[in-house]
Symmetry: C2
Subunit: 436 residues, 2 copies
């Protein structure tokens, strides 16, 4: 029966053992040959008395006896008595699996996903991501949230009609959902009260940047009976602190591979909530102190995101900032208005979470009152007759509610310090890439 490399290294198997995996490295020493075998648990040195006929990345199964060798990785090697080649790899590999990938170009990594993922450092990105998904769900289930799965085929977008991919649906044309916004609100109002969804969303945005994907995994949350966006910020702090703690507990090796650390629960608790206007003041004041101050910053753009996180790291010891009270003009029609004293309700109960210089979350309290919503529509150039199901949502009893979404790939990117968000997607989609 097959055992894993780590079972041998941890001394769980002492007699004859069978291991299987990929040929990671071959070192012919004249008399004997060392082969490094890689399986899902790690690597193990195999010792062959006679040179085996192997190519790199072939899949093999070997029998042998463990023996201590302080020069072997992990201090133990397997002296091979029998070899079976399960699948021979072509000798010319289009991607070097066992090399240092730190200087490999993104396009090469993505074009050769089958091979690039075999590199342990690249693989570790997706160990991290699996824990993020698991911890996100685990924390919310403990808080009495129900996991939902909602349709990604919708007749209209919830963020307005732009940036939608069209689908030919029998004789109809419909769209891929930009967000489960409408559905998660519906399910809160349908009495579920607390829901989360882990699913793909689609944005037909044309720009090709290190922070954008045209298809990404959105970690969505919606919750009823809240007072303001501050309840949501507290909830997200809980979610993030739990995710970071789980990464620390389960993925130490993967974090180490990228020299990455995660904020402690204490640090997350100290993340400040900064109102939008104050955030802009801080950002401009900080920018003015810099060596090359540019023009005035008028919005929370990527530069502002970077500066406010640097400021928070300096001031609060954590590079996580919640910016709230965005002006109404920056937020979608369903955002709950907030009157900051000018009588115009020109602000909103909304927030972004910015982590290590990148927006990872957008959230808000939403409209729940039918009449107030009807009155707000003209401010967005919207008419009652365009709102369809959205009005139904508020018509038959809808609790005060709100929610947020964390971009799964962006969070993965920032945990590990990856250059591009595309590195954090197994099979990313951008304007040019639809394969593999």
């Amino acid at each position: 029966m097959r055992v894993l490399a780590k079972d041998i290294l941890e001394g769980k198997v002492t007699g004859e053992a069978e291991v299987s995996g990929w040929v990671h490295r071959i070192r012919d020493m004249g008399g004997i040959t060392f082969v490094i075998l890689r399986d899902r648990s790690g690597i193990l040195q195999l010792v062959f008395e006679k040179k085996p006929d192997l190519t790199l990345e072939s899949v093999i199964s070997v029998k042998g006896t463990p023996a201590a060798n302080e020069k072997a990785p992990g201090g133990t090697e397997l002296r091979v008595s029998g070899l079976e080649v399960l699948s021979k790899a072509a000798p010319e590999l289009p991607f070097q699996v066992n090399g240092d990938v730190s200087k490999t170009g993104l396009e090469s990594i993505l074009d050769n996903r089958l091979l690039s993922l075999r590199n342990p450092k690249i693989r570790s990105i997706f160990n991290i991501q699996a824990t993020i998904v698991e911890a996100f769900a685990g924390f919310l289930r403990n808080q009495d949230f129900t996991e939902i799965k909602t349709s990604k085929l919708v007749s209209t977008g919830t963020e307005g009609g732009t940036n939608l991919f069209q689908v030919e649906y029998f004789d109809d044309k419909i769209c891929l959902a930009q967000s489960p916004q409408f559905y998660k609100e519906t399910l809160v109002a349908a009495g579920m009260e607390r829901v989360f969804e882990i699913g793909q969303v689609y944005r037909a945005e044309k720009h090709d940047t290190p922070r954008h994907l045209n298809e990404y995994v959105s970690l969505d949350v919606e919750v009823g009976f809240i007072e303001s966006e501050k309840d949501l910020i507290e909830l997200e702090k809980g979610v993030l602190a739990h995710i970071f703690a789980e990464l620390e507990r389960k993925n130490k090796k993967d974090l180490d591979a990228w020299n990455a650390t995660v904020p402690s629960a204490d640090a997350v608790a100290k993340a400040p909530t900064v109102p939008y206007d104050e955030c802009l003041s801080i950002v401009n004041a900080e920018a003015a102190k810099g060596k090359n101050p540019g023009g005035r910053i008028f919005d929370i753009n990527p530069e502002a995101e970077r500066i406010i996180c640097e400021w928070s790291l300096k001031e609060n010891g954590v590079d996580l900032v919640f910016v709230n009270q965005f002006p109404r003009r920056h937020r979608p029609f369903y955002t709950y208005p907030l009157d900051l004293g000018d009588g115009k309700a020109s602000s909103t109960m909304s927030f972004d979470a910015i982590f290590r210089g990148l927006e990872i979350t957008s959230g808000s309290r939403r409209h729940h009152d039918y009449q107030a919503f009807l009155e707000a529509l003209p401010r967005f150039g919207l008419k009652t007759e365009d709102m369809g199901g959205y009005l139904e949502l508020l018509k038959y009893g809808c609790p005060p509610h709100g929610g947020f979404a964390i971009g799964c790939e962006r969070l993965t990117q920032k945990v590990l310090g990856l250059t591009s968000v595309k590195e954090a997607s197994l099979f990313p989609r951008d304007r040019k890439r639809v394969a593999p």
Copy 2:
């Protein structure tokens, strides 16, 4: 601070308490008024000394004092001292939330999702489904599987070119994935070895039946280093037994609402594996015993699925059957061939799981050997140049592997005995339905 209905019923709160939720029922007794409040935890009787101005399904928040009353649901009621209406529901409801839904038509339930989901019996379907998803993932994580998220935007289908929805992707036309087949195999071969994915898949099938959805949640599994489909059947038995045990543990009330029971772990272990040819013989023999025997059954069609499960319930005490060794002509090109002794390898290492008369799973060992695969292609009318990425998958070291997928909605349907699979989808898509 808000507490839940069940906190009051369980005696966790004794002094003044605040509860919030929906107005489920109003009973005006002349002097006093009973209002049944519904929140995510259950229902609670409220007692008003003065008749409140309320409509059914409005969202309210009340303060009051718990008092024993054996006539109240759960034996405790709340004597109200303060009421706030958070959201008033329109007086005319298009769907009766608090009624008996057993005779309500499917279209009405789906057209009025916001309201139909408020009915506790309908809501319970999705409590069951949330546990299915959680237990599926939990079991596999314990077996060292990694959760993956793969793109649903693909350039070609893996089951052949039919039944694909087309997407306008910038200047290109691509498709919605019918299955994560190619990606899950790629990730096994990329060294992850054991992966699972919970995600939507899309089938542009025109038929509108109680067993079909055009978008459904597929619970996908792929695992390396297996010998045959029998390893997969054992794995699926483990998955199902765990899901059923978790449903029994967490969702007793939801199962009871539908008079539903789940098979015990012992029963799942006894589920037989019946080769395709033998299955057809049994089905025809059983059909011949029936009162109205029809013509000979030549395939595992819906009628055969029903009969083989009835047979197994009679013979083995469990209405779960694994049918294996499907003929090659019935399975996709990537299925691993099996020679049953005729030298033609006309059978395959494949299986279906049939539960309570419905196919819930299809699975197989897959080709992993590059040469053998090249030789098999012409039998499927396929050419090397059409295979693109699929050949790459086998070219650089691919372990023997296989996998299966469980239809999440079909499993939910059969656990509860729902008439249509559409009842088990929050927002189902069929040929005519793209909203809500």
